[in-house]
């Protein structure tokens, strides 16, 4: 049996990788995938702790996360497609209409 700590460490590593991706990459699709990675690292924590504590609550939270992530993908991809159509680019740095 794998100890809980391993799961948590893996989850933290995944989250940091995702975080770094969001912060350093410019391609909107990669940023998007990084966000998914962060979400799933959290899911992993939930499931691991659920098992560890013998409670179903964590798994329930995961279902919510999956649903929300699915919705987010729909909206996010639609936005990215629209951005690509209007600017022929998916570079997030090109989208700066709100700069002060």
């Amino acid at each position: 049996m794998v100890p809980l700590t391993y799961y948590l460490v893996l989850s933290a590593v995944l989250f940091s990788v995702g975080m770094t991706g969001v912060l350093v990459r410019r391609n909107a699709l990669i940023v998007f995938m990084s966000i998914e990675l962060m979400l799933n690292s959290v899911n992993l924590t939930f499931v691991a702790l659920s098992r560890h504590l013998g409670s179903i609550d964590g798994q329930l939270a995961v279902f919510f996360t999956i649903v929300v992530a699915g919705v987010e993908v729909v909206v996010g991809l639609a936005i990215i497609v629209e951005i690509f159509r209007s600017r022929a680019s998916v570079n997030v740095d090109d989208v700066d209409l709100l700069r002060g």
Binding site: V22, V24, V92, D96, L98, R99, G100
Partner: protein, 623 residues
């Protein structure tokens, strides 16, 4: 209160709403119909209220206006003997002048605006005389002031008219400020603003409070009723259309001060207040009559005459004869409105010429107007049995009794002297305007349409027979009607069942008539051939208003202007504007700094979110 009585001020208000919003798009005939119809409805309601009047004062509460802690004021209307008389005078004379206006203003572009203002005036005036407490009365008081301003400046593209409107507004503001302070004093002392309660409890006030409150209210009355020293706006108010002068600046609005004193008469019975009122009234009466002697503008002669006659009314109040004052108010409304409408008819015929040096000989072409003016003039002079004779004699009788009972003799002496001067100046005006040779042979004056002539005819009848309202031989219906309101002070004549007059009073009346006739004779002799005799120093004094013009133009106006410039420059620009602009600059500067945070890079935002999360986590971990 009968259910219809509270609609008396409502109809003109509805007329104003309709004409003010849609008037420009309505045909003239509809505008005339609405403008006059609303006043006619309100007059009909007043007549009905008079016929069904049960004798006891009636009040109706419309809504609770202000309720804050123990301060509560209800918006209510009061219908008693006094307000009924006022409502009938205002509505009746108002209706006639509305009808006259159809003819007089026929060529006017802003026809509907004129009738809208006039209807708003009627609504305010009726509210003033029907308000059940001081605050409602004050709303009407300010409302008529506003309409006066709007109508004096009706032809606002003429600089003189616009200035005259502002002058009226500013001078009235001085009186109104004192009025407002007086209301606060009364509230502080009695804890109520209800007019009847104040009148009932006035005798329980401590004398200093009574004196303060009554004098403050009297200052308000001098502003609205153009008494010394706040009279200067009324002659200038003649820049407005002539029916406006007749309605607002002769018959109704300017009598509001007299009404106020009659309404709260017990409050004004402090001996010093009575002395002040009678003295101011008597001095103003003579003062204004003297100025009327040297004035060349026919309408301004009538304006000074109005100031002078209002002085008589205040004199009556000051010698404890409020009913006589109200009687004179009523007859004055008839004959002065008649004189003004006749003057308006002259202006209509002569294309707005009103300087008497450019008039003359109009008795021929304008026979009807000349007769109307003559009737008004004789009523003003006080030739019995015309209306003015009965009411003016009654005031002089009361003044004589007052003097005989140990009061001041000043009101009686000045009153008699004023009667003399009155006869002279109105004779002069009539001679210059209607007799002699026409000053302009090119002019072809013609009478106005019947819609102007008929109201003048009715007013002429009222000016002839109006005296019967207070004459002992006719039973003095007006005075007997008012008797329950004023008790002893109503002075019902002996012939109508009142107390026998004292011996002093019996000789005053013949004396007044002799003085009046003497004045006419003096006027006919002095101004024959339409030349003014040189009055020397007196003429110069009268032309400078006995120094009042210098006092105002040399002292008060410069002080006010300097104050205004100080407030406009250093205070407004230097302090207030700087504070406002400073707040704006502060916010703009702050925003300029903060906008740097908004880089437009998504990852910057993400990094800041991360930073915030880390900081919150760190806080929880370290704690």
């Amino acid at each position: 209160m009968a259910s219809f009585a509270w609609t008396i001020p409502l109809w003109p208000l509805l007329g104003w709403l309709l004409l003010g919003t849609l008037g420009g798009r309505l045909p003239r005939r509809v505008v005339s119909f609405v403008g006059c119809g609303s006043v006619a409805l309100s007059f009909a309601a007043s007549l009905l209220a008079m016929l069904t009047f049960p004798g006891e004062p009636q009040t109706v509460q419309i809504f609770s206006w202000i309720a804050a802690g123990d301060f509560s004021v209800a918006a209510g209307l009061l219908l008693d003997r006094l307000s009924l008389v006022m409502v009938l005078v205002v509505g009746g004379v108002g209706l006639l002048i509305h009808i006259y206006s159809i003819g007089y203003m026929a060529g006017e572009r802003a026809y509907s605006r004129y009738f809208a203002y006039l209807n708003l005036f009627m609504a305010s005036m009726l509210l003033l005389v029907m308000g059940s407490n001081l605050l409602v009365l004050f709303v009407g008081w300010e409302g008529v002031g506003l309409c006066s301003y709007l109508l004096i400046g009706f032809w606002f593209d003429r600089e003189r008219a616009a200035n005259a409107g502002r002058k009226a507004f500013i001078v009235n503001r001085i009186g109104d400020a004192a009025f407002l302070v007086g209301i606060l004093v009364l509230w502080n002392a009695l804890g109520t603003l209800d007019l009847r309660t104040i009148a009932e409890r006035a005798s329980t006030l401590s004398p200093p409070v009574m004196l303060t409150a009554s004098l403050l209210l009297f200052v308000g009355a001098t502003g609205k009723s153009a008494q010394l020293p706040l009279y200067t706006w009324l002659p200038d108010a003649m820049e407005g259309p002539t029916p406006v002068s007749a309605l607002i600046h002769a018959a109704t609005m300017v009598t509001a001060g007299v009404y106020l004193i009659a309404r709260l008469f017990p409050l004004f019975t402090h001996p010093i207040t009575l002395l002040v009122i009678s003295t101011v009234g008597a001095v103003t009466a003579l003062f204004a009559a003297t100025i009327a002697l040297v004035e060349w503008d026919l309408k301004r002669v009538l304006a000074y005459s109005t100031i002078s006659q209002l002085g008589y009314m205040f004199l009556a109040m000051g010698v404890l004869a409020p009913a006589a004052g109200l009687f004179h108010l009523t007859t004055h409304a008839f004959f002065k409105a008649l004189l003004f409408l006749a003057a308006g008819s002259v202006m209509h015929a002569m294309h707005d010429v009103i300087d008497m040096r450019r008039l003359g000989g109009l008795a021929g072409p304008l026979r009807y107007t000349a007769v109307a003016f003559a009737i008004g003039a004789l009523a003003l002079v006080g030739i019995p049995p015309l209306a003015g004779a009965v009411s003016k004699d009654m005031i002089l009788e009361r003044a004589a009794e007052h003097a005989a009972a140990g009061g001041s003799v000043l009101p009686l002496l000045l009153g008699l002297l004023t009667a003399l001067v009155t006869s002279v100046y109105i004779t002069r005006a009539a001679l210059h305007t209607f007799l002699g040779r026409p000053a302009d042979p090119q002019a072809h004056p013609h009478e106005g349409p019947p819609v102007m002539a008929r109201p003048m005819g009715i007013l002429a009848l009222l000016a002839v027979f109006g005296g019967l309202l207070g004459a002992g031989l006719a039973g003095a219906p007006l005075l007997r009607f008012l008797a329950p309101q004023f008790g002893e002070a109503a002075h019902v004549p002996a012939a109508a069942g009142g107390a026998a007059p004292t011996s002093v009073a019996t000789i005053t009346s013949p004396l007044a008539i002799i003085v009046a006739v003497a004045g006419v004779v003096v006027g006919l002799v002095a101004y024959r051939g339409r030349r003014d005799p040189d009055l020397g120093m007196w003429g110069r004094l009268a032309r400078s208003h006995f120094g009042f013009i210098h006092l105002y133009d040399g002292v008060f106006v410069p002080i006010a202007k300097r104050l205004a410039w100080t407030l406009a420059g250093p205070v407004d620009l230097g302090v207030i504007d700087r504070a406002v602009n400073g707040v704006g600059a502060l916010l703009a500067g702050g925003a300029r700094g903060l906008r740097r945070l908004q880089t437009g890079y998504v990852r910057h935002y993400a990094a800041i979110i991360l930073l915030g999360t880390v900081l919150i986590l760190a806080y929880w971990v370290i704690r």
